[in-house]
């Protein structure tokens, strides 16, 4: 046990006293995710939102008074234009000097009242000219379309559908929440896996490449202690990488999603949070132990990096599949598939599905896989072919 701690201390000292490594492996991923997602969110918001103070430049030809009053209720000012100015206004819209031109047929109200839907004749047409490349123009067009739809409905309003919000019988997550609850485990798994991939190659293959592993192997330290010490320190760093990235993601998510209420139907108890963490940890154990084995079989960091890279894709596939099957009834044996099981369990928890058998199988099998990997790594440390092959 003392030797495990000594090895862990050495590995962690090496990592945490290297400011550059701490910055690139832990601080930078979280910071980059936060900055990029926040910028993306801000950029998207800017693209689709019009300033509150902005006054739409809407020109209207032959607009009936009833519709005019509907716009007035929404504080939208209209510029009445004559038919002769249509071409000039279109040019202004194109050059972004005006937003929208609405052209009603002459005697629009009469034409509408005389129109028979059954006749098969062409209905009176309102033309809305706008510029889709401009946010303000596109939003103004949407505003007009919505207002006109409302006007059209008011003309033949014979019945209403669901006037209040008491009709949705679902008391759990709605579709968008389900999507988010499937994505969160996938993101967590991918972030942990990225942490493992970032540090794993150097921890063992790096030592082999630099010739420092042999110096450790001539000490009386048991190979098993060496394997466990290395894996636990890698696990700590990988989890910190994941926490950093996770924090970046959580903090930037409201900006990215435009302040949408994502977790309104989720309320995990303290015990569930603890279980959630145990599932993450057990999955992280499997991931890091597997990366450690891949790293040990390689002779150089570059070689280890090459063999670890496809592993990231596999993790993504398994975690996506696990996340999206959350809440669905599948064979109990699927929880024996590493990564998939953790992702599925996390998704279940977020959706409020309680399945203690699946949870036990997940945690138990992950711990078992990690132990098997540690055993393999121990054997690898004892193998001169693997440790000293050129």
């Amino acid at each position: 046990m003392n030797n495990i701690i000594t090895i862990m201390k050495k590995e962690l000292t090496r990592f945490f006293t290297d400011k550059k490594m701490v910055f690139t492996s832990i601080i930078m991923p979280g910071l980059m995710i936060y900055i990029i997602y926040s910028l993306m969110g801000g950029f998207i918001q800017d693209m689709v939102t019009t300033d509150e103070d902005y006054k739409y430049k809407i020109s209207a030809v032959n607009m009936p008074e009833a519709i005019e009053s509907m716009f007035a209720e929404q504080n939208v000012e209209l510029k009445k234009t004559g038919p002769v100015d249509i071409d000039d206004t279109k040019a202004e819209i194109k050059s972004e000097k005006a937003d929208v031109l609405v052209v009603f047929p002459e005697d629009f109200d009469e034409a509408v009242s005389e129109y028979d839907v059954q006749s098969g004749e062409k209905a009176p047409e309102i033309e809305i000219y706008y510029n889709s490349a401009t946010t303000n123009s596109a939003n103004a067009q949407m505003l007009i379309t919505t207002t006109l739809d409302a006007y059209e409905n008011s003309l033949s309003n014979k019945f209403d559908v669901n006037c209040d919000e008491k009709h949705d019988l679902n008391d759990g997550a709605d579709f968008s929440e389900k999507m988010v609850f499937a994505m969160i485990p996938m993101l967590l798994m991918t972030l942990i896996s990225s942490g493992c991939v970032a540090i794993g190659p150097d921890f063992i293959a790096g030592e082999k490449e630099r010739g420092t592993i042999a110096t450790l192997l001539v000490t009386p330290v048991k190979r098993g202690a060496l394997a466990v010490g290395k894996i636990i320190s890698m696990l700590i760093i990988a989890v910190l990488c994941a926490i950093s990235s996770g924090l970046g993601l959580i903090l930037s998510l409201p900006k990215l999603m435009g302040d949408a209420e994502i977790f309104k139907n989720t309320s995990l108890s303290a015990a569930q949070y603890a279980l959630f963490f145990v599932v993450i940890l057990s999955s992280a154990c499997v991931l890091i132990a597997f990366v450690a084995v891949l790293s040990a079989q390689a002779n150089t960091v570059k070689e280890a990096g090459t063999s670890v890279a496809p592993f990231n894709i596999l993790i993504m596939v398994l975690s996506v599949a696990g996340g999206y099957t959350g809440g669905e009834k599948l064979s109990k044996f699927v929880n024996l598939i590493p990564v998939f099981n953790g992702s599925r369990c996390m998704s279940d928890m977020l959706l409020g599905v309680k399945d203690s058998f699946a949870l036990s199988v997940t945690i138990g099998s992950n711990i078992l896989y990690a132990i098997v990997m540690i055993f393999i790594l121990t054997k690898m440390f004892s193998s001169e072919k693997i440790m000293f092959s050129k």
């Binding site: 003392n2 030797n3 000594t6 090895i7 050495k10 000292t13 090496r14 006293t17 290297d18 030592e207 630099r210 010739g211 420092t212 042999a214 110096t215 450790l216 192997l217 001539v218 000490t219 009386p220 330290v221 048991k222 001169e384 000293f388 092959s389």
Partner: protein
């Protein structure tokens, strides 16, 4: 004299990779690096393994230090078998070879403490050992400098100090003065003599005749993995110089055209 180390019929056969087979150009798939090699080392002596490059010296020392396993045979180190109790053997020996590198990121001070802990040395003993070894090699001056910034000589001194952190009775050094400048080489040679005077058993491999003549009590000449001569230095150099004896043996074993 008390035998402290006994190598019995050590054999090491390597399977050659395809790349190695191409380099060998002989089409052989296996290579015998050590061939039924036996010798004894006595307590408090310096035993020198002498041989050309590729003779099997380093492989022999790696087997004794449990870094690799013999294909057959065994070595008893202070009553412990390398095949049965390798961890116990590692507690008893201090091993230094050029392939054992120190992590560039750490300082000699940190590495000494780290390896002392792995060997189970108490804090008190560690500080005493550190003071002595650091003073002997002048490591105090660069104890807090990262290994990456040390010269080859400084690194070698640090490696020796680290390999002896647990004060082992049996010390195995593979080419201890290789690549060192004359001053550092002298410091290392004098230290080996000092260790011998303290009653430590030293097994050293080298191809430097002068080093063997200066420090060794007994000498073993290895050629093509076989121990072709093993005797006290006094007996070996009775009639000829060590260099002449070595080349006589070499020509006899390999032929003059090699």
């Amino acid at each position: 004299m008390e035998t402290i180390l006994e190598a019995k019929d050590l054999k090491k056969i390597y399977s050659l990779s395809k790349k190695q087979q191409k380099l060998e150009k002989s089409g052989i798939k296996k290579k015998t690096a050590v061939d039924d090699l036996s010798f004894e080392a006595y307590k408090g002596e310096v035993f020198a393994l002498l041989g050309p490059n590729g003779a099997g010296k380093t492989t022999t020392l790696r087997i004794i230090s449990t870094l690799i396993k013999p294909t057959s045979g065994d070595c008893i180190v202070d009553g412990v078998s390398i095949a049965e109790q390798p961890e116990e053997v590692r507690k008893k020996i201090g091993f230094l070879t050029s392939e054992l590198k120190l992590e560039d990121y750490f300082t000699p001070n940190y590495l000494f403490d780290f390896f002392s802990k792995l060997h189970g040395v108490s804090d008190e003993d560690r500080e005493k050992r550190k003071e002595k070894l650091f003073k002997t090699f002048g490591i105090d001056e660069f104890a807090e400098v990262k290994v990456a910034n040390l010269s080859t000589g400084m690194k070698q001194k640090t490696s020796i100090a680290v390999s002896l952190a647990h004060d082992p009775d049996i010390i195995i050094f593979d080419e201890p003065t290789n690549g060192l400048d004359v001053i550092t080489a002298k410091v290392v040679t004098d230290f080996l003599i000092q260790l011998r005077d303290e009653g430590k058993t030293i097994i050293v491999s080298t191809h430097i005749f002068s080093l063997v003549e200066k420090i060794a009590d007994r000498v073993g000449i290895i050629i093509n993995g076989k121990m072709v001569l093993c005797d006290s230095l006094k007996e070996v150099v009775k009639e000829k110089t060590l260099e002449d004896v070595f080349f006589d043996v070499y020509v006899k074993e390999v032929g003059s055209d090699e």
